[in-house]
Symmetry: D2
Subunit: 444 residues, 4 copies
């Protein structure tokens, strides 16, 4: 239990890193981190240095024996690591801006995880993550990979299907919901049981109990809800919520209120620009703050960034894995019979008991009839997207796009896919290499 731990953060130059660092400091007695490696790609070196120096200042202020290492050599960071976390954005915010804006031209929701935007992000990201997994398989085969990279469910499923790395998908939405519940009822988390059913960014909470007493009914009746700052605040219809008998994730508004959410996005685009552009400005301000050589703690402003609790989710999970605490966390894991109509390998987001050898999903009390079709429809799209990401097969990509519940027709799917693939050409070699003339291919 006294083993000193090595942590590697891939995409360590992210603006979220100070949150993680804060977590490692706070919980050092339960998670004895000795080396913290922040790794990023060459173009992110500038940001890596800013964040890295802040991390060093924070740790120095804490007086803890944690060594911070900054590198662009991924393999050095991975080698012998105990925990690896990923938070990356292939194509950076520029690609996200396209993910969000192109679909709007076709009257389709533009969103970086849900809808065609998330599909493109998946196509760009999955090959890169699998490449990282090849390194982990070789250099840190016993490490736990905590994947925050969106679309987290799809990326995690790609890893469990195509790699031997021990990986777990994480999202801040469930922990945010739990925080909201404990604050609503002024209780400690262990007195709340909330049953999550579904997929990443597509879950419903079908049971909420505080000290064993049902609270779901009153929450639905009062139309109370938890929502993140980055999702539009459309109100749920009261009759719908009551008849749903489950609290839907705020991401489900894209499916349940499609026209209004689309209108909202079009308005926002005409106003403050895409979410990517908003985030870009926030990030610039954050890095401005991070650069201050007197700053030696996580600045308050980070909390408005949209990814609240990311760090808490990650550190909690590492602590539970390290100590085998047997507590319950909502994680993205292979299905293996928990949702009876999905394949064993399908990645789902459900409550798990966390043992030292990984999370064990807990049986669901109920999988409401009415949500089964939508879960399966989105999972179908996800699995086709994973296959397309790996094979670069346009036929499969077309089927994924056509069968996405937010895409209204084959015609739109086809045109939208063409434009989005083209716009992402630099990040999708799997789709374009084969079209190269033979002589060019030799040069690749």
């Amino acid at each position: 239990m006294s083993k000193k731990l090595k942590i590697a953060v891939i995409g360590g130059g992210s603006s979220y890193t100070p949150e993680l660092v804060e977590g490692f400091i706070r919980y050092h007695n339960e998670l004895p981190v000795q080396e913290l490696w922040l790794v990023d790609i060459e173009p992110g070196l500038h940001k890596l240095n800013i964040v890295g120096e802040l991390a060093k200042r924070m740790i120095a202020a804490s007086g803890l024996p944690i060594e911070v290492r900054l590198t662009t050599n991924r393999r050095d960071a991975i080698k012998g690591a105990d925990f690896i976390s990923t938070q990356m954005r292939v194509g950076m915010l520029a690609a996200r801006a396209q993910d969000e804006s192109i679909p709007l031209k076709y009257g389709v929701i533009g969103q970086e995880t849900t809808g065609p935007g998330g599909m493109m992000k998946g196509l760009r990201t999955i090959p890169v993550l699998l490449d990282i997994c090849r390194d982990i398989e070789e250099l840190a085969p016993n490490a736990w990979l905590l994947n925050f990279t969106n679309p987290a469910g799809m990326v995690t499923e790609a890893i469990t299907r195509h790699s031997t790395v021990r990986s777990i998908g994480l999202c801040n939405a469930p922990i945010g919901m739990m925080k909201w519940l404990t604050s609503q009822y002024q209780v400690s988390p262990n007195r709340v049981y909330a049953e999550f059913v579904g997929l990443n960014h597509l879950h419903w909470i079908t049971r909420i109990e505080v000290d064993g007493q049902d609270k779901l009914t009153e929450l639905l009746d009062n139309r109370q809800e938890y929502a993140a700052v980055n999702v539009s605040h459309q109100d749920w219809d009261g009759d719908f919520l009551r008849s749903l008998r489950a609290l839907p994730s705020y991401y489900l508004k894209y499916f349940y209120m499609t026209p209004a959410m689309l209108e909202d996005q079009i308005q926002a685009m005409q106003g403050e620009g895409s979410r990517a552009e908003v985030v870009k400005k926030v990030e610039e301000e954050l890095f401005q703050l991070y650069s201050d050589p007197h700053l030696q703690e996580k600045p308050k402003q980070l909390e408005q960034r949209g990814g609240a609790y990311y760090s808490e989710a990650a550190v909690n999970l590492m602590r539970s894995l390290y100590n085998g605490t047997g507590d319950v966390q909502t994680l993205n894991v292979p299905n293996r019979g928990i949702i009876d109509f999905l394949p064993d390998e399908a990645c789902i987001e459900v409550n798990c008991l966390v043992t030292a050898n990984g999370p064990l999903p807990i049986q669901l009390t109920t999988i409401p009839q009415h949500i089964q079709g939508l879960i399966h429809a989105v999972k179908t799209y996800e699995q086709l997207t994973i296959e397309a990401a790996i094979t670069g097969d346009r036929d499969i990509a077309l089927q994924a796009m056509v069968h996405h519940p937010l895409v209204p027709s084959v015609d739109i799917a086809k045109a939208l896919l063409e434009e989005m693939l083209e716009a992402n050409r630099p990040y999708l070699p799997q789709f374009f290499q084969k079209e190269m003339p033979a002589e060019d291919k030799a040069l690749v």
Copy 2:
């Protein structure tokens, strides 16, 4: 084998009946019908008499010992019957006209089987059919019920879930497809194997072989298709078809080409009126013809009615059940493991081996990944609709409407449901009785 058979046709006053009668005449040596009971409700008596007299003339001309009986007493017709077929329309064409026109006001496909129209037809029809089943359970427990009543998949599932009657759902689409294939390739049906996967009005053909040779690829490449007269002729996109690797039912155009199909319906409505109105005119002309006392055969014009091969499908199935021929027919039957992600009781439309004790579904070679979500989404809606039809529970009805893949949002679902329930009030006592003041209820 020499047993004389009693047949009861519920909804016997339908314009389709002469087709059935023609079938009974043609195949009398294999299906020795002795009594043919045509039964209809009081308001349909006039049409029943016209059709019934034509049936009598047709049989007289054939010289066969078949007795035709006309009645409005359902129980007399059912008692001791060997085969019962249903072809009914609760609310008649007026209700269908509403099913088709109201959704258009909300920008939603109006169709009598697919979409909200089909949902309303299900809500009206299921209780009536289950009521008939109560009579069959009592008066003809060993009879086979051949259900043609749309939405046939949903109605058949309601019967298998809530009655002990031996029932089979039938549709003319699969037999039409087989006819088209045998005519394309100029072969007899037993040289063609076409694998149907899916639900009623939501199937794909994933294997087509003539003499064991694959023909699916060339059919998809040539974008050749079979379509009924009553579905708009939008062409399939070639790339989509090829990548689908399956021939979609023409009903799938409502899902794959939603905006174009909707536009088409709106145009048609402004032109010739709803399909219900078109059918109404056709029917009036048919009954004009049927009334001719010199007519003693099925008139050619019936074939343009849209339900080609209904009779052939029915008589084929009766012959196979009666003789235990062990031939393959595409039928609506309980799933019981054939489509692995659907419940055992879910009614599916697949190939079956027909034995004397009923159809046995045949294992599917493949259930393509890309169509699984849509199948499950529609089945989810169907099962909620069945439950709503039986309980009259508006919450469940709302969930059914919200989760129908063609309904774009909760707002629209709610408003549309309200208007459609109200429009169907006379046929939906299960939804309205409970609202009655207590004193009124006593009178019901």
Copy 3:
């Protein structure tokens, strides 16, 4: 959380009761028992009084405000209870003696839970328990029923299939195993994760980790094992254990070492008599002790009785349900997808997370290929026995006996069944009433 609790112990005159009482005293701060009802049948009144008086003395000595009530009126005890536990023996030790001795005459293992003995116990017990459940449904519909009555898996499954009572099956074997492990490794229970796979009295432990480190391999290599006092101490074969890659329950010796275990039973029968006879003597001595008006604590000798940890298991479970502690316990619960080849309703013995609204089974990491057939074979026998117990159908009983893996042939099964049914005639009205002459039946 400050609710005062009512507990009903059915079979309260059992020699185990002082253990339970001790538990209620020790954990009163976490489980505020206010009323403890001990209920037994008329013939057990003498023992009930002895045990009941001891219980009163124990509580008096503790100074806690727990009221002990003794009754033969089951309904008074059940009414409004929060927890009900059952520990009964229909036919008492005399019936057990038959269960153990008759099979030996046929060369078959005689055992009160495994084998034909357990089958007879099930046939006698299930109708009685279901009768109690009728009372609970009426008088304490929200109570938790903790079922210790053997064969606990079969009885619990009968209850979940045929009653709406919230019931959980409990056995002392898993808790005994956990105690043994924590003592072997000198750690607290929360540092051990042991994965139980299987059925009651038919489980394997496929993972044992202490602080996340595998200990299963060394336990198997050292042939270390945990066994109860009431099961013969045959040693496991080392090669077998190692290749099994799981620690088998000591009850599995009946299946894996059948001839030796049989021989052992025959020897014992010729020596000290059946286990029932041994237990009878132990019980007599215990009641002698209990009668001592100076005794006001659980006597040490009770631990040799064979049911160590029963009380601890029961009190642990009540505390966790009451407080919603979310700890892991090994319980008998409906399968619902955990063991993929068994029906949803099959009762299995696996790890569960205990919430205030009941136990939620945790996904199994592995279900070894080699044990699947035996699990299914025994579950098949159990389900047939449950059906036979309820219907009194001899055909089903014969199929149960024939298909029990310890019964070597149809001939033996048939003869053994006949003799055992006859010997149990007073307790099996469901099998014998129908044979009564019509005139007698009228009198029943």
Copy 4:
């Protein structure tokens, strides 16, 4: 349809070959065989020549344009073949004699397909068959492999799991049963529907209808049964049969009447010797007959050999595959959902519709509760045996032997396995090579 066919018979020197030849002659108009290759191993060359010459004489007498080719070069025979059938016996009758006699020493059933004998046959045969499959994958990838080689279920499953060859397992027991039924009721086969449920040599018939009328009940009541000449004639118990509600395969007597069948085998061994020795004599007499240069038809005596209808089963299946007849045959195929509790890849023996692209299993009407455990127990043993055959892993082999329902204990399993592996050492290189000293291995 006018393609000329090439057939390869592996193990062509078998005494069964004349039956096959007779079939090819009789059905030449439906199955236009042009080349018939009989292939055998070097030690079987003498028998191959005798049988081959008889085959040539038979064909000459028929006047058909079939060319018979004899060879010991397997690859020549396989190359471009349309159908390949296997009927081999690795280790020949001497190995079978051991399979049958060694278990008896341990009080265990000795049988060449069921029990430890079948396990050894599987261990010897599976690697050889997979080796042949490697050749087929290369030289005749579109060929159909009809596998008669016992244990046929296990061997076929090994092929479908570990090879891409299109293979089907065949047994003469189902066709024998159908022959017996058609003869009992004097009807043509298409008027009988008999539903087979289970595995090869472990099936039950749960529905028997003639012209749609149930005949199972009367067959069970009359204890009528069909049995092959090579299985001992113990009578079924009437009560058992009736309560079983299914007609058991005669191979099930090994499980249901174990002590009597064992006694029977011991008696026979002391009398006429093992079944292998009896067969050896029959075979010698047959080859005597075959050698007669005047013989140009299949001799009557072949029918007493025990494998009646093998040829008919094979030729029927080839005809149906070639012509895509869509008739129903009972075959060994991958489960894929038909028996819900077995894995998809498990080979089962059930009714199939035979299309030109292979057999499609037909849904089972019922899988009786009482037989599920035994099916799963035997399938567990089979799957372990397949794995042991491929890996040569003694641990897995021990688990297979221990968990075989006919093996009474771990002790016996271990000793029996040791002796049988040793006795089969020349045919089990996978189990023994690894024990060789390193220097010897280099020589292999």
